[in-house]
């Protein structure tokens, strides 16, 4: 098993005729993802790598019985693409696009309340259930099928963590990049819940960074609910203050948001936090050894 995507995932690529859409469609197909349709307004009837293109998500869903979509649409139009996927009642929409205006995402987030669609991202690398389905831009070959769930706010640090796990013979159930934007569809807690309930996930790696309070909230949730060992890394320990965050942001977070605060909150609830990004794999190994499940997490070679 895995979370969110698997062999049953029937994917639409929104923005399939653009440069990024085309390249990653090819890559996802090569990985074995079941891409059933593409959408670009005005380009219906064309095909990209053998995938039929439709004008709208609704038409694509009706023709192909798709249940998920991935968005490679420029920032100016990306929020609209999310609205379209939500209105077509897909189960899952993954938005890769970086640079969407914050107020657009605020509107999207409000609109999605009570709707059936789950959003991953935006500004994320997508997700992968190794050996089953890749819905994103993650380099497929670094992954191994297995039992560790990975959640990350950063794309490239997801790869870093996965690379370290695979190098130690530890496979992944699913790796999810939840995105680097301040307003996002899926939070750490949402993803932790899914992994906690997934029988095939035995342990979890979470990668956070400075800003916001998602990691602190996750720590509080872990304390009350988590049944599985967790390892973590927080980037930005040496980031200069005030360069990224404006005045009001600093007030809203009220002292939260620093790497030190996040690390302390996670350690407090028993999460193994790596000091440096090269030790993420080591920390997970330490955590699963302590839990007595190291052998269970190893990939059979």
């Amino acid at each position: 098993m895995s979370i969110l995507v698997n062999k049953e995932t029937r994917l639409i690529v929104q923005g399939i005729t653009g440069g990024q859409g085309r390249f990653h469609t090819e890559q996802m197909l090569a990985y074995g993802t079941n891409i059933v349709a593409g959408v670009t307004p005005g380009k219906a009837g064309q095909d990209v790598c053998g995938v039929p293109v439709f004008d709208t998500v609704k038409q694509a869903k009706e023709a192909t019985n798709a249940n998920a979509s991935i968005i490679y649409v420029p920032p100016k139009f990306a929020a609209d693409s999310i609205f379209e996927a939500v209105d077509a009642e897909l189960d899952l929409v993954v938005c890769i696009t970086e640079g969407i205006p914050v107020l657009d995402m605020a509107r999207v987030k409000n609109y999605m309340v009570g709707k059936k669609t789950r959003l991953i991202g935006p500004n994320c690398p997508g997700l992968i259930s190794p050996g089953e389905s890749k819905v994103g831009i993650l380099p497929g070959y670094i992954h191994k099928k297995g039992h560790v769930g990975v959640i990350s706010r950063s794309g490239t640090l997801t790869y870093e963590a996965v690379g370290q796990l695979s190098a130690r013979g530890i496979g992944q159930s699913t790796a999810v990049g939840i995105g680097g934007d301040p307003i996002r569809g899926t939070s750490f807690i949402d993803a932790l819940k899914l992994f906690n309930e997934d029988d095939d996930t035995y342990a979890i790696v979470m990668i956070g960074e400075i800003g916001g309070s998602g990691e602190e909230d996750a720590a509080a949730w872990i304390k009350e609910n988590m049944k599985k060992p967790v390892a973590a890394f927080i980037s930005g320990q040496t980031a200069p203050k005030g360069k990224r965050m404006g005045h009001a942001g600093a007030i809203i977070s009220g002292g939260k948001g620093t790497a030190a605060g996040k690390i302390a909150a996670l350690r407090e609830v028993g999460v193994k936090v790596a000091d440096t990004p090269d030790r993420i794999g080591e920390m997970l190994v330490e955590a699963i050894k302590e839990a007595g499940i190291y052998e269970k997490c190893l990939v059979a070679e």
């Binding site: 409000n110 831009i137 794309g155 301040p182 007030i251 809203i252 090269d278």
Partner: protein, 384 residues
Amino acid sequence: MKIHEYQAKELLAAYGVPVPVGYLAETADEAYEAAKKFPQSVVKAQIHSGGRGKGGGVKLAKTPEEAKKIATDMIGMRLVTKQTGAEGKIVHKVLVTEATDIKKEYYLSIAVDNDTAGLVIIASGAGGTEIEETAAEHPELIVKEYVSVYEGFHNYEGIEVARKIGLPAELQKDFLAMLRNMTRLFIEKDCSLVEINPLVETADGKLIALDAKVNFDDNALMRHPDVVELRDIAEEDPKEVRASEFDLNYISLFGNIGCLVNGAGLAMATMDIIQKFGGSPANFLDVGGSATTERVTAAFEILLSDPNVKAIMVNIFGGIMKCDIIAEGIVAAANKIGISVPLVVRLEGTNVERGKEILKESGLNIIAAADMADAARLAVAAAK
């Protein structure tokens, strides 16, 4: 994106928020002419920074002659505030405004609240001082009201804010109008912060925005060409300006190891690990997911334009970014400008084999690193 106080006030005024009458002056003579229009005036340095008063950037002038004298000293001075860092910022222009007879100072701002995916009104009866200080020392004096991006705030919520900060009842109506106009500005122009500090109750019973700050969401500038025109490039780090022309996310730091990384998380982690191994990063640089060979070349030019840089560490884990593009950028930069410092390269991810081949075939003197820790160690050693 930040703008100057005088621009923020013009914008607020255009949205119906009362601000003191003022004139921009780029010379002492202009300041003199402006000050002649007022019984007393205040001369305010226009730089992109808060805390200007404490740094000597805000002064009261009782006569036009005095305003001229103050402007003479202020224009061209290097103003150091809590926010500018020790290097400060050169003052190129001043705002001359009518001196206001102040009865009481308040704080009022609107920002985005990520948790509720809406806006938040932040207000306080303790205005004039920096709000971070108030938040740290007297959090009980800060009032917050969460607002929907669709509906704005309801009148009763605005009245609640006014009541909690101790605003006299007779000013409530003006306060509500002001708040409504600020919200309209925030949403129509895609702001990230609209701040009035202090918001002043004058001796003759009026509400007026004595100082103002308006910041914009960089991601939304594409749909606001009028806002882009307000940008003052002189206020920004030249390397950061150059980087933004190429859509590179670059922040200048003080160390000697230039960093070229893809992804903001990995770029921060790269800074962390360099410092862990005893080195010091010269910058944060995320080349992003869609960088081209030209952009990577530009990134190298920017890194090498920093005289402090003694080594460069390239740390790439390609997903959307392909390793061969990075490799081509490195080769193109080396051919175009020559890379004069040791170059440590760690490549991993999409098209990594092609990337490594390109570097190998180029014959460039590159220190290849096995992983991130190895790269950091090698870069720290090379910079010594």
